[in-house]
């Protein structure tokens, strides 16, 4: 059974758990981030991280070094560390400004696996790779620019701490080398290439019909790249091998994560997490984590798409041809748990190669924790086509 928490009435822009999942850093579509602590079945706000001047677009919490990085539309990122406060002695989160040197909003931020660097995707057609310079005691950023032609929407790190995948509004998913001379040792050769100076392109992929790439993810081994595009498809790319496109007749997915080497969980405008499975031979959709019995809406579910089947048109047509008046307010409620787009899906429990639970947050202000094992088949819609 998925655990559902109604944490806010406003959309949740970003969420990140700490290492033992007892605390949650969230942004409620505002300039401040909140730290919520779990108390039984509730999440109570313990601290507010207020430093940004504009909406915080993305948060990431490094599990080992316990640092939080927040990125915002104000073109800055802050790294927060827990230190004892000067006057009171309490442990508080203290921010350190990171000058990204971008001239547009930051959209997405992720810590690297070793937590010594982080990547910030931005609307400035660049990705800022930030590392700590101990000589000057501050964070320096290096920009990955070529050949990005539009806003970068999502980034994901390869397990070797050097390669970075980026999905962009120029409809391409790319793999870059983010090798920083002072921080990284020379990485071993991977399927993506060897001897990779900073800003080398190791791969560039597009989906079947094109479309903004909303989310990218490396598999646990790092040898495969998956990305979700706005043409309602998921593409799985094997470097030097085939690229499998799974096209769906439903709404686009905007966030994805790998549960294991052969399973991907993704979610988006359909308000439910979907599970995909496959290998180099091919990929297909195997079902949803939300079988519709948890929600309390009416039959206006994921099966009905199109403007003639839902909404005002259907209400009046039913009233006219079938004599059915609207059944109260239940036909505005979806029968999925999330009542609005899921914007962020992150691993919650399990080891890095075998994720057992994922957490989702969305525009409806809910946090839901799903069990990946309970997959139900999708009913009421066409089977997914795979090429």
């Amino acid at each position: 059974m998925p655990e559902v928490f109604n944490i806010s009435q406003t959309p949740i822009t970003a969420h990140a758990f700490n290492a033992d999942r007892s605390q949650l850093a969230v942004s409620f579509n505002s300039n401040d981030a909140q730290i919520l602590a779990r108390q039984g079945s509730e999440w109570i706000s313990t601290e507010t991280l207020a430093e940004h001047d504009k909406v915080i677009t993305s948060i990431d919490w490094a599990p080992n070094s316990n640092q939080i990085v927040t990125a915002s539309q104000d073109r800055n990122a802050y790294v927060w560390q827990q230190t004892p406060d000067q006057e009171t002695g309490k442990i508080v989160w203290k921010p350190t400004l990171v000058l990204l040197r971008i001239n547009r909003a930051a959209t997405h931020v992720r810590w690297s696996p070793k937590e010594d660097k982080f990547a910030v995707a931005s609307g400035a057609r660049a990705i800022a790779i930030c590392s700590f310079d101990p000589e000057n005691n501050w964070w320096v950023s290096k920009l990955l620019k070529k050949p990005i032609r539009s806003t970068v929407l999502a980034v994901d790190w390869h397990p070797n701490n050097v390669l970075l995948a980026a999905g962009s509004a120029d409809m391409k998913a790319r793999v870059f080398s983010a090798y920083i001379k002072e921080i990284d040792e020379r990485p071993a050769a991977t399927v993506w290439g060897s001897k990779l100076p900073f800003n080398t392109i190791c791969g560039e992929f597009a989906s079947a019909a094109g479309g903004w790439v909303h989310s990218v993810g490396f598999s646990p081994s790092g040898n495969v790249l998956a990305f979700a595009s706005h043409d309602s498809s998921i593409s799985v790319a094997y470097p030097g091998g085939p690229v499998h496109h799974i096209r769906m007749p439903t709404l686009p997915l905007v966030t994805l994560t790998w549960a294991s080497e052969d399973t991907i969980v993704a979610a988006g405008h359909d308000c439910q997490p979907l599970v995909f499975s496959g290998s180099e031979a091919g990929w297909q959709e195997i079902g949803t984590l939300d079988n519709g019995s948890y929600g309390s809406g009416s039959k206006v579910g994921p099966g009905s798409v199109g403007r003639l089947k839902t909404g005002a048109f259907a209400t009046f047509r039913d009233a006219d041809s079938r004599g059915q008046t609207s059944s109260g307010t239940t036909d505005t409620k979806l029968n999925t748990i999330h009542q609005n787009t899921i914007t962020s899906l992150r691993p919650y429990a399990g080891s890095p190669g075998q994720i057992t639970q994922v957490s989702t947050t969305g525009v409806d202000g809910k946090l839901v924790i799903w069990d990946i094992a309970s997959v139900s088949a999708l009913t009421g819609r066409m089977a997914a086509m795979s090429m």
């Binding site: 000058l99 320096v140 950023s141 290096k142």
Partner: protein
């Protein structure tokens, strides 16, 4: 005149020695940094017979430095001379306080080192190439 950063006598001596050392081949450089805590200049290292591109690799990407370069310049009429030129190495990702301190102490350092030609490299390693140095020295 009060100075923000002091130049110790050892640095002045190193600079004089560097200036008068006989040059036979290649370019030589001496790299000086500012110690922000003590507000003095310190010598980082000296290079002999190094190319400009190698020097660009050696210099830090996130910290400002003063580099006094004795460059092997080949004139269009075939002569080789070894003029001294000061490179103000100031990459944009350096810490702001240090960058400002570096800029304020530049004039003082320039008069102490007694070098008339100054090249500003503000873009990092891409901006320091032999072409840039040669065209500056030949153009002057």
């Amino acid at each position: 005149m009060s100075h923000t950063v002091d130049i110790p006598q050892s640095i002045k001596d190193s600079l004089r020695k560097f200036r008068f050392a006989r040059r036979n081949e290649g370019s030589a450089a001496i790299v000086i940094k500012i110690n922000k805590q003590k507000l003095i200049m310190e010598e980082v290292e000296q290079f002999d017979n190094i190319s400009i591109e190698e020097l660009a690799e050696e210099l830090p990407e996130n910290s400002p430095r003063y580099v006094v370069l004795s460059h092997a310049l080949v004139h269009p009429d075939g002569r080789t001379s070894f003029p001294l030129v000061l490179i103000n190495w100031a990459p944009p990702s350096s810490e702001i306080g240090l960058l400002t301190l570096h800029a304020s102490a530049l004039l003082n350092f320039q008069t102490t080192a007694d070098v008339s030609k100054v090249i500003e490299i503000r873009e990092g390693p891409e901006g320091l190439t032999s072409d840039v140095v040669n065209s500056y020295l030949l153009g002057k």
